[in-house]
């Protein structure tokens, strides 16, 4: 352990702003990337499911005429 207290750790030897800015932006960007990536598959599946439902409706309408 390099630091003796939490305040010392957060201060980063005087470079707190730069170090935490770099780490913050990195993990922020990664979080956004991961969230959009994880949502992608279910979005695609939902899109396909909706399309199938639409086709189903079209088929029924044509059948009833």
């Amino acid at each position: 352990m390099q630091y003796h207290s939490l305040a010392e750790f957060l201060n980063m030897g005087g470079y707190a702003f730069f170090v935490w800015l770099a780490y913050g932006v990195t993990f922020g960007c990664l979080a956004v990337l991961i969230i959009t990536t994880l949502g992608q598959e279910s979005r695609v599946l939902k899109h396909i499911a909706n399309k199938m439902k639409r086709e189903e409706r079209l088929k029924q309408n044509r059948g009833s005429k």
Partner: protein, 248 residues
Amino acid sequence: MWKWLHPYADPQRAYQLSSKLLPWFSLLAISLIGIGTVWGLLFAPTDYQQGDSYRIIFIHVPAASMSMAAYMAMASAAFVGIVWQIKSADWMAAAIAPIGAVITFIALFTGAAWGKPMWGTWWVWDARLTSELVLLFLYLGVIALYASFEDKVLAARAAGILAIVGVINIPIIKYSVEWWSSLHQGSTIKITEKSAMPDSMLYPLLINILGFGLMIGALSLVRFKAEILARNSMRPWVRELAQAKGVK
């Protein structure tokens, strides 16, 4: 000799294989990045020249090296897709591009946040920084080209050609520090000789590099799966999956 690989070009098999590999990649990536970052921030010794600001290295170097590795992966996938007409490879290339762009942006940003306290400026028009910026533009070009074609088979072909042409930039970035007198320091990790870094700093760095690589792998797999589904929406197996998962 490579016959065993061929079945995996089939979309369904590729999808199943990615689903099987994904938990391993994500678990390893999360634990490695966790260990590397905590080790780097808390336990690695303070640098006697740069003080604690050097701790940015534990994300800057992994992001920078992996931005190039991801580009090579994308270009190789595009090459395989164009030469052997394997569509799965095209989809993989399309899946890697946005991830690579984000990683390149991270490398540039952390570099700027490190440059400000060390060089006194956020940005210099130095060979390495400029060529890394060019790498970001190349990624954006590939993404934009892929997005601007309606027909995704053509889009992948076109973006693939651009990705392969852009490979020329990779050696320029890699060796820019040696070719031009540059403000950017030389590479700290050397494979053949002893690294210019004590082990207590080197190990967390290596762990994070590996972690970033695996994370890019995991994210690529997720995007690859989504890409497979989107491009095969008429196949019965995709429709079954959509019915099972998409309707709630």
